[in-house]
């Protein structure tokens, strides 16, 4: 039974050091905009595979391997906390 991006919050926080489930993602296949928490989660203990809830194309993958994290992002738009310096 698949879960969703909410269940990946712990792993993603470890990798990106930020809360990621509110990130905006645009599927590169069907262009649907979703919050990362809405993506469908697969992969179980092999790794995190997050798919578009509309067309199931892969949006984000994270695997923890011996050498470190493997991260593949296809269509994730994430705004980090530290953005460009505004006019002061």
């Amino acid at each position: 039974m698949n879960l969703d991006g909410n269940a990946a919050a712990g792993v993603l926080r470890e990798v990106f050091t930020e809360e990621m489930t509110t990130s905006e993602c645009r599927c590169e296949s069907c262009h649907r905009l979703s919050a990362l928490g809405q993506l469908l989660m697969y992969g179980g203990a092999m790794g995190v595979v997050l798919r578009c809830p509309s067309c199931t194309a892969i949006v984000l993958r994270v695997t923890s391997a011996r050498r470190g994290w493997f991260v593949e992002m296809r269509g994730v738009i994430h705004v980090t906390q530290a953005g460009p310096v505004a006019d002061s």
Binding site: M46, R51, A65, R67, E72
Partner: protein
């Protein structure tokens, strides 16, 4: 930190029977990289492709299950650390497929490909001599969709991610190219007895 009182499902077993780092389970955990495909059997086919992508052989479902069958009882080992002993499978061996197709492998490697886009790479030498089946029966019944039915690859001497679920064919390759999990840090070959879990192991 050891959690007092937690035993979990896994038991350590006889190390001559079970590869290092594995725990024996009596369940059959389901792990998928994507949603379960449901290809109708009338639309299903199994195809062997040459290195240039051209078809070398193809069978529809009814022809496929009429091929010479082999039964295997084997242990399976998942890289996520569970092992399941004495699993029973029925299907057609890689050798029988090549014989039926009347071909010799045109290259040393191949990529197994599945419905839903999953792929995994294998050296041909790991499939020959009865080492691999394309299986459509598990434990005496038709292979269930969540376990890879209607047919999955079975290469039990390697970690179970190599036994591609929902397999639709094999595509020969000159070089060993990484498939779905292999591009993400998993070992190109995946021998559980050498604990080849991740690339570089």
């Amino acid at each position: 930190m050891i959690t007092r009182g937690f035993k979990g499902r896994g038991e350590r077993a006889d190390p001559s029977r079970v590869p290092p780092g594995q725990y024996v389970t009596s369940d059959f955990p389901v792990l998928s990289a994507g949603p379960t495909p449901h290809t109708p059997l009338e639309q299903w086919s199994f195809t062997i492709r040459d290195t240039d992508g051209s078809d070398l052989a193809s069978w529809k479902w009814k022809e496929f299950v009429a091929l010479p069958q082999t039964e295997l009882t084997v242990d399976i080992h998942c890289v996520t650390k569970w092992s399941k002993l004495d699993t029973r499978w029925k299907g057609v061996t890689f050798d029988a497929l090549m014989e039926q197709a009347g071909i010799e492998p045109p290259a040393s490697y191949l990529m197994a490909f599945s419905d839903g886009g999953y792929t995994t790479n294998l050296p041909v030498d790991d499939l020959t001599d009865g080492q691999a089946l394309v299986a459509w029966e598990y434990d005496g019944s038709a292979l269930e969709a969540e376990h890879g039915g209607p047919a999955r690859l079975l290469v039990p001497h390697l970690y179970f991610w190599k036994s591609a679920k929902w397999v639709r064919g094999l595509s020969f390759m000159e070089e060993d190219e990484p498939g779905f999990w292999e591009t993400h840090g998993y070992h190109l070959r995946g021998d559980p007895w050498k604990e080849e879990r991740y690339s570089g192991d």
